[in-house]
Amino acid sequence: MKEIPKKQIIETIRNLCIEANTNLPESHLAAMRRALEKEESPLGREVLERLLENADVARERCIAFCQDTGYAVFFVEIGSEVKIPDGELGEAINEGVRRGYEEGYLRKSIVRSPIDRTNTGDNTPAIIYYEPVPGDTFELTMLVKGAGCDNMSALKMLTPAEGVEGMKEFIVETIEKAGPNASPPVTVGVGMGGPFEKAAMMAKKALTRPSGEPNLDPEVAKLEREILDEINATGIGPAGYGGTETALAVHIESFATHIAAFPVAVNLDCHSHRTAKASL
């Protein structure tokens, strides 16, 4: 049995919150630099240059890259041989978020409920997804999820007859509808298969993959490339001012589904694409 004290989890979560919000992942920055090389619109290039400059400033001064420091979303892979002897994991994560958002000068953006819109004051509750795994693995992946792009996300229950072409249409249509509101260039998380909620979960998790890392299934990876090309044909461009680079990456996660179903969920992430990982 591997024992991880509660204090260590709190500290790790605190640091992840600050790290994710102030230091954009290298794979995402590299994708933005590639987009800057390819972008044909002068205004689009200007936007990409400013985004990269903003990333430098945020990292150097340890301030948030974007004021919307989002929902604190965690994917937790927890091994069957891992134990927290002195506390409960969910509590520890929420305490870490509380400290990270306060000590990192991050905005508290969570309200109690859609109808009682009182701010909770500390950016909790965190959004936590647990995945039990064998062994003594304990891996935390944080996604800082802004609302502007989350608001432009969508899910469709396609029929098997609508198939891959129907899926492509739906994804591109979602991007077209989002336009500038999703703060492009976006990262596109897609979940296909499973029942309704599984598709949405996969779409969110797909966003945590290093930018541009293809799906291991070559057929799915080919779809990712084709859809990326179609999205970049829309002309929406950086900040929606028009241009050739509308998305930096399309990540598809796939799962078994029903003989009658072809669910597709599209979760968009804005140019402030913020993830961080830690293993204990």
Binding site: L43, E46, A58, Q67, R107, P180, D229, G237, A239, G240
Partner: protein, 191 residues
């Protein structure tokens, strides 16, 4: 790209009239911040006939809810939020002389009509440049609704605050025109 145009607030009709979609503008002077909750209260104040947090005449509203400032900074990171959530409220301020709005994302037809009728321009800022934008803020002071925290109305004094004209007074729309200009034919699916 053309040379940036420099504007100083307060703005007159003559200041905003020549602006064209796609123009890069550097704003100096005052911006008032307000987003969802503050707009709701402003609308309620108008309905009740109570005083507004600021006189909108000649002013610019910036749709933002800044992050907390580190010591030594006037304001924390402060990029624009999605403007469409303010669509139902914006005409109330535009009718009262508002000359500009800074945000991101598409505005409704009703807002665009109101802007056209009363002489108000919509500027875009880039959300993911929040840290850089905060650098252009020299002073920040909460002027109303302090209980709203990040969503309170703040009076910002800015220097060369960079924006782009999205909707001008001639019906121009950078989001629509930009997309049309750079759209290419989608690769047809393999036969």
């Amino acid at each position: 790209m053309s040379e940036p145009i420099r504007l100083e607030t307060p703005l007159s009709f003559e200041d905003v009239e020549p602006l064209k979609t796609g123009d890069v503008v550097l704003i100096s002077g005052v911006l008032f911040t307000a987003r969802d909750a503050a707009h709701k209260r402003i609308a309620e104040a108008i309905e009740d006939g109570s005083p507004l947090p600021f006189d909108p005449s000649g002013q610019i509203v910036y749709f933002t809810g800044p992050a907390p400032a580190r010591p030594g900074h006037a304001l924390g990171p402060a990029g624009p939020t999605t403007s469409s959530r303010m669509d139902s409220y914006s005409p109330l301020l535009i009718e009262r002389g508002l000359r500009g709005m800074v945000g991101k994302g598409v505005r409704s037809e009703a807002v665009r009509d109101s802007m056209h009728e009363h002489g108000c321009v919509y500027f875009g800022a880039v959300e993911g440049t929040a840290a850089l934008l905060a650098d252009r803020v020299k002073e920040a002071e909460v002027v109303a609704y302090e209980d709203l925290g990040s969503e309170a109305v703040r009076r910002l004094v800015v220097e060369d605050f960079p924006v782009v004209v999205v909707n001008d007074l001639r019906g121009g729309d950078l989001y629509r025109e930009g997309r049309e200009k750079w759209r290419r034919k989608r690769t047809p699916p393999p036969a």
